[in-house]
């Protein structure tokens, strides 16, 4: 499906009636809601043949619908579309996105088999908003609500962890991966390898001056976050590496030869772990201590390679139809509680601002009247006085 040619075709028919389309959407939506799986679960299509015919019909409807809504979105810009976009940092080191903060989100969406487009932002290396996930006017930033993945789960876009969240091991594994391994990775990128890889990850599109300044800034901030000062540097390094080793040991034991961390279903923890392993193996230099520690656990490496082959390399060509996504699901949960306090605030603010404006205007008028009465146009300051010698 080529959305661009589709748009050109539809550009000729600009006077399409939206109401007809939207009523048509709701009718197809009602039809489609019953037999298909929920958006949060993993994707296994039903096997019966009657379902296949229905699915083909739905495929056609959704295809046209996606084309039309995409065009409308481009023309009007405020309709919600079916096109999901993940904005991440640029690819490098044979990874779809080289940034270790963006890669988990990418992998998570791939594991959930949610079709999305990848867009790049290469000018904001020190932003914690990236990666962000957008769909029309809905945006999920990485610095809100605990990260993009958490936000996607909360807003019901895609949730792989529903049956797993109650398990006690889930939380402890999550803490292990996100904090201990996360810290080890941050340390290794900025301090352990002295930022060798960062120029390709973050600064490939920025001129030298800016990239140098930002590199120093980000190194400083990373050291702050990890609590590394001149006095504590050595001790902290030992602690970080020790914890990383123990975490690898524990994960390796836990994983064994399983495909995923939890039974046979992918979860967000798989996304975090996979991204961690892939990044360390591919993006860090061979002299990296952390990389050596990781390579000792061959089952982790095998796990990563298997999942990479299955999810990351295979599915990049044909985008499957958006069977899991309905505008209703996130339009319900999309409205944030943030909007309420905002409305109250603006009412009060407006009143205050109005009063302040009247006061300022009165002041100004007074000053101006005074100036014009006393000034009166005598602005000729070019008269130099002649002086005696």
């Amino acid at each position: 499906m080529d959305l661009v040619t589709g748009q050109e075709v539809l550009d000729e028919k600009r006077s399409e009636d939206d109401h007809n389309i939207s009523s048509w959407f709701t009718s197809t939506k009602n039809l489609s809601e019953k037999p298909l799986a929920k958006p949060s679960s993993s994707t296994k299509r039903p096997a019966s043949s009657s379902m296949n015919l229905l699915e083909d019909l739905f495929f056609f409807f959704f295809l046209t619908r996606a084309l039309i809504t995409h065009t409308n979105a481009i023309m009007e810009g405020d309709q919600e579309t079916e096109v999901y976009t993940l904005v991440a940092r640029k690819p490098s080191f044979d990874l779809p996105t080289a940034c270790p903060n963006c890669l988990p989100a990418y992998i998570y969406l791939k594991l959930a088999q949610l079709p999305f487009e990848l867009a790049f932002n290469s000018t904001f290396p020190d932003s914690d908003e990236l990666p962000y996930f957008e769909n029309g006017t809905y945006v999920a930033y990485n610095n809100e609500d605990g990260g993009v993945i958490e936000k996607l789960k909360k807003d019901g876009i895609v949730n792989l962890d529903v049956p797993l969240q109650t398990l006690p091991e889930y939380l402890s594994l999550k803490a292990l991966i996100v904090s201990w391994l996360g810290e080890a990775l941050t340390y290794e990128i900025w301090v352990g390898t002295e930022g060798i890889s960062t120029s390709k990850i973050y600064y490939s599109d920025l001129p030298w001056v800016i990239s140098k300044a930002l590199f120093y800034k980000q190194t400083y901030m990373a050291k702050n976050r990890l609590g590394i000062t001149k006095e504590t540097a050595e001790q902290r390094e030992k602690q970080i590496y020790k914890r990383a080793s123990e975490a690898y040991e524990a994960l390796s034991t836990r994983l064994g030869e399983q495909k995923f961390l939890f039974e046979d279903r992918p979860s967000s923890l798989d996304a975090f772990l996979l991204s961690h392993i892939l990044f360390i193996i591919q993006a860090l230099p061979e002299t990296s201590a952390l990389r050596c520690k990781l390579l000792e656990h061959s089952n982790l490496v095998r796990y990563a390679e298997k999942l990479k082959a299955e999810f990351l390399e295979a599915s990049s060509s044909s985008p499957s139809p958006p069977l899991h996504s309905f505008p209703s699901s996130f339009s319900r949960k999309g409205s944030k509680p943030k909007s309420k306090p905002k409305v109250e605030k603006t009412a009060e603010e407006k009143k205050f601002k109005k009063r302040a404006r009247f006061f300022l205007a009165a002041q100004f008028l007074a000053v101006v009247m005074y100036l014009s009465v006393m000034g009166g146009g005598s602005s000729d300051e070019l008269e130099y006085e002649d002086e005696d010698d």
Binding site: G77, D78, V87, A119, N121, S122, T123, F124, P125, S127, E129, Y132, E134, G136, T137, Y138, V139, Y141, N143, E144, D205, L206, P207, W208, V209, I210, A213, L214, G334, S335, K336, K338, S339, K342, A361, F364, V368, L371, S372, V373, G375, G376, G377, S378, S379, L382, E383, Y384, D386, E387, D388, D389
Partner: protein
């Protein structure tokens, strides 16, 4: 001794009115008698102090000599040659800085030319702003060389090199007027250099801190050289959901009456602390490196900047960005044109002002047709300034709020406002009829009334939108407003109290029919 200077037994006209008479007689009608000029008596060697003492003791013979000289000068050019230029009183300032102003005087062949050149040199030296007083005297040359004269320049350097000032200005890079407080340190190295540190608060929600240096003469070039290192922020959160921070250096390479060339190199950062920006603004957030050259040609023949009643003006600004060996800097081309014309009518000081402003901005480089243009380089229309006084490209339109019209996009879900993202091409035009009010008290203060009409429109051209651009559609969606009001010019700014009525606007435009106030800088 046939030294023509000797015959100048002029009663040294130190008293102002008498001297002005002399100058007026010689040079016709001149305004602003700022300089003092003396003709020395023969035989006295550069003794200016004794002149004042002997002033009272002058005999009528000297006066007769002076009158005969003036008769000669009125009749025919009096030949004279400059033998030497002597500079006195400068301790810090280098001689060549002062002597450079006298180049024209050195080449003068007649007394009239010499006087004219000296007058110009005097005003130039005062304009350097580093002297408390400047005196140019024509002394007689050495006795053995007839027909020569020495030009003596006496300067008194400023005792306190540190000055502070506060004012409202319109700077070249800024798009609107601003309130500026600066501290100046003059002539540290003796080259006429002026160093200043300043804090600027602009009316378009901007703040800037900067250090500047001004050199009147740079290595033989006769145009001044300015440089400014600045750190500035501009807050557009309310209108376009972004804040712009920039650290840069701007060099004024050429600055003459008609031409101006400025090179800017800057590190610009766009951020969105509100995290509610629309899609296209979100894509633009981040750091950019700017290396741009801006050339302005300005030809302003109107009789006044604040209330033009006669004349015309033409300003063209061209900007090219991306002049760096690094292809990762911001590449864009921007061109703005302003035309103004004022037609006077005879009665009540009435004048009709026309104006057209247009601009276009486009990226260049590989894939330039698909790339979006950079948001700060786009055009935004609307605001609290008057189109009559703004000569910096299309920016003002009566009746529309700041950044209140043009392409706009919905913000993040949950925020009902829209972001105005600006256009790549913008055109505005206006017509303004100004007239004096019948009340004499108001007339004396310069307060007058006006009736106006303005139109404007913007279009997006980047990201392949130029293929969809059509002139009829552009004209169809043009915004129009009319109104009338009172203009209060003060020495600091020009204020207008208007009632605007928006005749035509598009959906989502922030326009309001009603009372609106505009401010424009008076410089």
């Amino acid at each position: 001794m046939a030294n023509p200077a000797e015959e100048l037994d002029v009663n040294p006209p130190i008293r102002e009115p008498e001297e002005e008479e002399v100058v007026e007689e010689l040079n016709g009608d001149e305004e602003g008698e700022e300089e003092e000029e003396e003709e020395d008596n023969e035989g006295e060697d550069d003794d200016t102090e004794s002149k004042s003492q002997t002033r009272k003791g002058r005999s009528s013979a000297d006066r007769i000599n002076a009158e005969s000289l003036f008769r000669r000068m009125r009749a025919a050019p009096v030949p004279v040659r400059v033998h030497d230029v002597i500079v006195r009183g400068n301790q810090k300032t280098k001689d060549h800085i002062i002597e450079a102003e006298l180049e024209a005087a050195r080449e003068a062949t007649t007394l009239q030319e010499l006087l004219e050149a000296s007058r110009v040199a005097n005003s130039n030296l005062r304009a350097l702003d580093i002297f408390d007083s400047v005196n140019i005297t024509l002394d007689s040359g050495p006795p053995e060389l007839p027909g020569t004269t020495n030009v003596v320049i006496e300067v008194v350097e400023s005792k306190s090199p540190l000055t502070g000032q506060i004012g409202v200005y319109t700077r070249a890079e800024a798009r609107s007027s601003s309130l500026e407080a600066s501290l100046k340190y003059k002539n540290i190295f003796g080259y006429g250099d002026i160093w200043d540190g300043s804090i600027v608060h602009g009316y378009d929600n901007s703040a800037e801190v900067g250090l500047g240096m001004y050199l009147p003469r740079f290595r033989g070039f006769s145009t001044p050289f300015t440089s400014r290192l600045y750190l500035s922020t501009q807050d557009w959160l309310k209108f376009s959901s972004y804040k712009e921070r920039s650290l840069g250096l701007s060099l004024g390479l050429l600055s003459s009456k008609y031409h101006e060339l400025v090179y800017t190199i800057a590190w610009r950062n766009l951020i969105d602390p509100s995290q509610a920006a629309s899609a296209s603004i979100r894509r633009q957030l981040g750091h950019t490196f700017l290396s741009a050259l801006k050339y302005t040609f300005k030809f302003d023949q109107r009789n006044s900047y604040l209330r033009p009643t006669n004349g015309y003006a033409f300003v063209s600004t061209s900007q090219i960005g991306g002049l760096a060996p690094d292809s990762r800097s911001l590449r864009f081309l921007k061109q703005e044109i302003d035309l103004r014309y004022a037609v006077p009518f005879g009665f009540y000081n009435t004048a009709l002002n026309f104006g057209v402003s247009g601009g276009v901005s486009f990226p260049w480089g590989s894939g330039y047709q698909n790339r979006p243009s950079s948001v700060p380089e786009r055009f935004f229309l609307g605001g609290n300034s008057s189109p009559l006084c703004s000569l910096g490209g299309p920016s003002a339109l009566w009746g529309f709020k700041t950044r209140g019209l043009g392409p706009n996009e919905p913000r993040r879900k949950g925020d009902s406002e829209r972001d105005f993202v600006g256009g790549d091409a913008a055109v505005t035009a206006f017509a303004d009829l100004s007239f004096d009010l019948p009340v004499r008290w108001l007339r004396e203060r310069g307060i007058h009334g006006h009736v106006f009409a303005s139109v404007g429109n913007m279009a997006k051209l980047s990201e392949n939108e130029f293929r969809n651009f059509s002139a009829p559609k552009f004209l169809e969606t043009v915004r129009t407003s009319v109104g009338a009001g009172i203009v209060l010019p003060t020495s600091v700014f020009r204020m207008e109290l208007n009632y605007c009525h928006v005749l035509k606007k598009q959906e989502h435009d922030q326009a309001r029919s009603g009372v609106c106030v505009t401010f424009s800088a008076s410089s």
